[in-house]
Symmetry: C2
Subunit: 344 residues, 2 copies
Amino acid sequence: MENSKKIKIAVDAMGGDYAPENVIEGAIMALRESNNRFEIVFVGDEEKIKNELRKYDTIGLSYSIVDAPQVIGMDDIPTVALRRKKNSSIVVGMKLHSDGEVDAFASAGNTGAVLTAATFILGRIEGISRPTIGSVFPTESGRKSIMLDVGANVDCKPNHLFEFAIMGSIYSSEILGQKNPKVALLNIGEESTKGGDVVLQAYQLLSESKLNFAGNVEGRDILLGKADVIVCDGFVGNIVLKFAESVLGVLKRKLRNYAMRNIFRRLTFGLLARGLRKALKEFDYQEYGGVPFLGVNGVAIIGHGSSTAVAIKNMIYRAEETVYKKINQKIKEALKTYKIKAEV
Amino acid sequence: MENSKKIKIAVDAMGGDYAPENVIEGAIMALRESNNRFEIVFVGDEEKIKNELRKYDTIGLSYSIVDAPQVIGMDDIPTVALRRKKNSSIVVGMKLHSDGEVDAFASAGNTGAVLTAATFILGRIEGISRPTIGSVFPTESGRKSIMLDVGANVDCKPNHLFEFAIMGSIYSSEILGQKNPKVALLNIGEESTKGGDVVLQAYQLLSESKLNFAGNVEGRDILLGKADVIVCDGFVGNIVLKFAESVLGVLKRKLRNYAMRNIFRRLTFGLLARGLRKALKEFDYQEYGGVPFLGVNGVAIIGHGSSTAVAIKNMIYRAEETVYKKINQKIKEALKTYKIKAEV
């Protein structure tokens, strides 16, 4: 696709707990706000999409619809669903992308299904053995760091972790704006002798590479911003991510319950509530639009299942950015630059 | 030791970031508050202990001192330190315990050194292949759950996870007061097919056992109280624990920075600060006294390195409770009751 052409983004209209409502609303927000900077292709049940679009004034907005009547639910088993639901928004959308009809596919639907579809339909970047899903963490320093993998790869070998580090570094420098990003291994201690065999060998690979490797970080360092790229296997990463996502909700409910017990508390709580929200906004994981599935031959962006319209809008921006910043091209170049040993 | 005799607890006077100050203060608080219900044996540099004790009126308090002039620092490598520092408070205290001079040993010092000393000097309970360190988590439901392992065992086999479940169940019912505690495996999804080989096999073992097994829980379920006993390997557990411990500090600093930006915010923040503290008190991990090292032939309680005097006091109470509730005896019985398959 040439630079002069508008970027086309396929959006899974049926993906997410509040689809198609939030998806359509978020996409329209993105088109209006960006002044039609890109083109959106809604993929999903045409009837439902049209019904939803009727709620808005869509004259002049650059979008089109591709019908995909089947829906892969949040609880569907990915491999089964992809085989049986060839006309689902995820399969159709991903094929549009692999056929070159669009430049990216973005979905807040069944994450496992999107990952599996991306891996099989788009294929992997040469030199990447395991595509990875990362998650952006806010940090106390104000810098955003990316942790990866957060669930795509449960069992990892040292070279997989090393590949995550390379992909994470590119994402950090290109999307999160960190120059020469610091890479760290998530471990149970800072010493180089900590952890199991896989982590120890990954430590070696990273030490010998040209990446800006800062050694190990512990669980307590994640939110402090000690590293820009935090590498771990998808089992640990997924558990930490889901734990982190749950914390704010628990604390908010705890505070609300406390405040509701008497009128004085309720008043002071009301005064501070807005402030609380503002102060903690960057820690609200719902604010992030989507996370990239790195290492596949294309751009697949995954949004949170409970995405709001604003989150959908940000997911679409993220897709656009990943395309125009040519993240995949940079990953390919980085593989040559950073890799010292290919396999372990 | 007979029931009629006072329980004797050896306390590592040199253990922790604020030793011996906080240790002595906390121990004296415990003796006063409990009206000398137990006897404390301070182990450490006699001179320093005596100096510290002079700050208090100690007449009538049931304590004694055993000199152990060497100190194992927080950064010492456990195995090396234990070999070289035979007269350290950790080695001397643990030996007092294995010799039957005291009923428990409690320390807020170098965790690795305490674990290693306990394993080698006390030995393991018959039938336990891997002693484990657990951590108590507050939950939204108000019930406290225990997660284990949180750092003693990085690489685990299925039967290790199964043993953790048994020990955790005993701790949950006896110390945390949960009847027929619900045991769950920490995993990346609720389905029984999730996770790597070790987790899958542990799932099988737990399903076939007589434990009250509730299946898998995810990272987001930890603070909700979906399970009373959460089982995982020490790599995952340690990272989640340290992450959790860091969250409250980060949020507090974030709120304070926000509040300090103008006078109105400062006033409302001041009003709510006390409430905030109260509402979140149970989420403050510093409030917990200590975590048990389960599966060794004896009672070894490990306190947080940065323990306050109150935390030390609670650590001592925890040691007492673990002794008089005969936790080890109950673990031995449980091993017979719950175990279906011995090895995997």
